[in-house]
Symmetry: D2
Subunit: 186 residues, 4 copies
């Protein structure tokens, strides 16, 4: 645990990743995830653009008063989701995917049809970050479990993902707690 | 203006930059700046480490209830200031200085003795961002005004810097408003 | 074709990617690939470290007089392969994987057991770069063909990979030729 | 010294930096520098675009048979100088300036009117790299000597810069030799 300010709880950062061109199911999952994450008072971090899973996760979070959403953008030329509170402009192109995963305590993935999303899962595993796949196909799950071992979990829906994160955060697993963020008074 | 959510104000991001090994005067300026920025409900963004101007600006901001501080770190190996609410781990080394300035609506500088800080001023000017120098020497002011023209302003103290920013934000100067961030309910 | 200097041939840049902890088969493939690439007077680009596929591909290339090898390193702290002629120090950590693929005309992959390598394939596809998998399993091939479509080719051995590249380069496919590099007198 | 292959000499990488919109004097200095660096069999590294000091330094080098020029580009959208042999596409925007200096054994600067160039000098100093200013004004020299101490040298012309580098390389100063590159048979 990085620290525990008096009178405040921990605020974890949950990265929600997925394709810009996403299926309806993944969009729906992302929106629910965003809302559930925000209800737990965790922060939602996405790629920040105004499309697909990025946009939906932030939209879901902003249904919740006091929620906070961070968008890590590839460049200043991109259109930012209107549901992003804080835009980090990396000017790194797709290399910003590494910033997304490095800045998240856990990465949750809604839809693996995009090359950008696959790069994020791979970079997360490379960095030793836990990854939760929501609604992955058996082939996708098998591929990534072979690659990431115990860092990979696969669940059916957002509720299960939240349950898994709560369990992980409560157990204070080192890889989750290490980078945990907290603040007071927001 | 990116957007104006009903019932919310704009929340600008103000980057406060300065040396890790800073003079007492610069530390003091940074702390006051951080507090004044937070009182205006703007967000403080720094390099995020637990030293020098970075640490002081965040510390100042966290005296204010509801404040929000972002630290953009060079790597996961660095110690994060305990006054940073949200740590963005870039894993880019000193190239993260470009993320700092790209993500700020305006950059305020307390002390120019460090090469890292000078690189941030230069990268800010390169990106067309306004820069306010607090307590610069005449030689420093002259050097940067020659480089940055009207993008550079020099003031004596934090209060003047805040006054200048208010004027800039109120006038809705394109370069300031373009990247402005707002959110509700935090 | 970017240009054609009088009296010189084109010199394409071929990225050879693969795990740091690689199987003997992948190491052998990388070494042969490096040599065959160099014989064609193309440049070998790798991740530059002194281990695994990176090291082997450069070693193979340096068996050939006049060969040229580029290593794109994550940081100045890494040990550079002694078979690297030019080390580019990105100081970007694993985000340097995006530099690797952006700077290559084509990416050839020996072994997909590593998360870093998988991120490189994904980033290459994201950037529209052709990728040749050498000795991939049917499951790996299927996974990436689903992701990358016609950008992905799968071959059994280095000779086939070279044959495919020659065909691609000769046909002057836009995505290959666009970034092609040439120079004279080296 | 990284290594000394039998039958080969060391090949240092010299970064030549300067404005895109440069004065005639700086362009001329850069062209002469490029040629003199190439005659010493050192490699010229620049920002790679087809303008200003970047272009001129590479042009000068390519007058010399066997020369080698590297261009480290901000993105794939930029036009590459036709005198660049190897283009490294960073897709990092101006943060690529840090790659330029990290990959150079020494940085030589022709003209300090540009914010990008000033950021490169500052990032070089931050990384502990020696910097040679060619034709700087007294105010510029003073500013950077205050910032960089013994890492900064100021000379009048390209010949002096080469003399200084030779002296530095011969003395095998740690900061210069550490990253030195060599290869055989090119």
């Amino acid at each position: 645990m990085r620290r525990a300010n008096v009178g405040t709880g921990m605020r974890y950062i949950v990265g929600v990743m997925g394709p810009a061109k996403a299926r309806k199911k993944d969009i729906d999952n992302a929106r629910v995830l965003g809302e559930l994450i925000a209800r737990r008072e965790w922060v939602v971090l996405t790629g920040g653009r105004d499309v697909g899973v990025m946009d939906a996760a932030c939209q879901g979070a902003k249904q919740v008063p006091g929620s906070l959403t961070i968008g890590v953008l590839p460049s200043a030329r991109e259109r930012v989701s209107k549901y992003v509170d804080l835009a980090i402009i990396t000017e790194m192109g797709n290399a910003r995917n590494n910033v997304n995963v490095m800045s998240s305590n856990v990465v949750v993935v809604c839809g693996l049809m995009g090359a950008g999303t696959v790069s994020e899962v791979a970079l997360a595993l490379k960095a030793g970050k836990p990854v939760i796949l929501v609604g992955a196909t058996p082939a996708e799950e098998k591929f990534f479990k072979k690659l990431g071992g115990r860092l990979i979990a696969a669940v059916e829906n957002p509720e299960e993902a939240i349950g898994l994160m709560m369990k992980q955060f409560e157990q204070q697993q080192p890889e989750l707690v290490q980078g945990a963020r907290s603040w007071g008074g927001v």
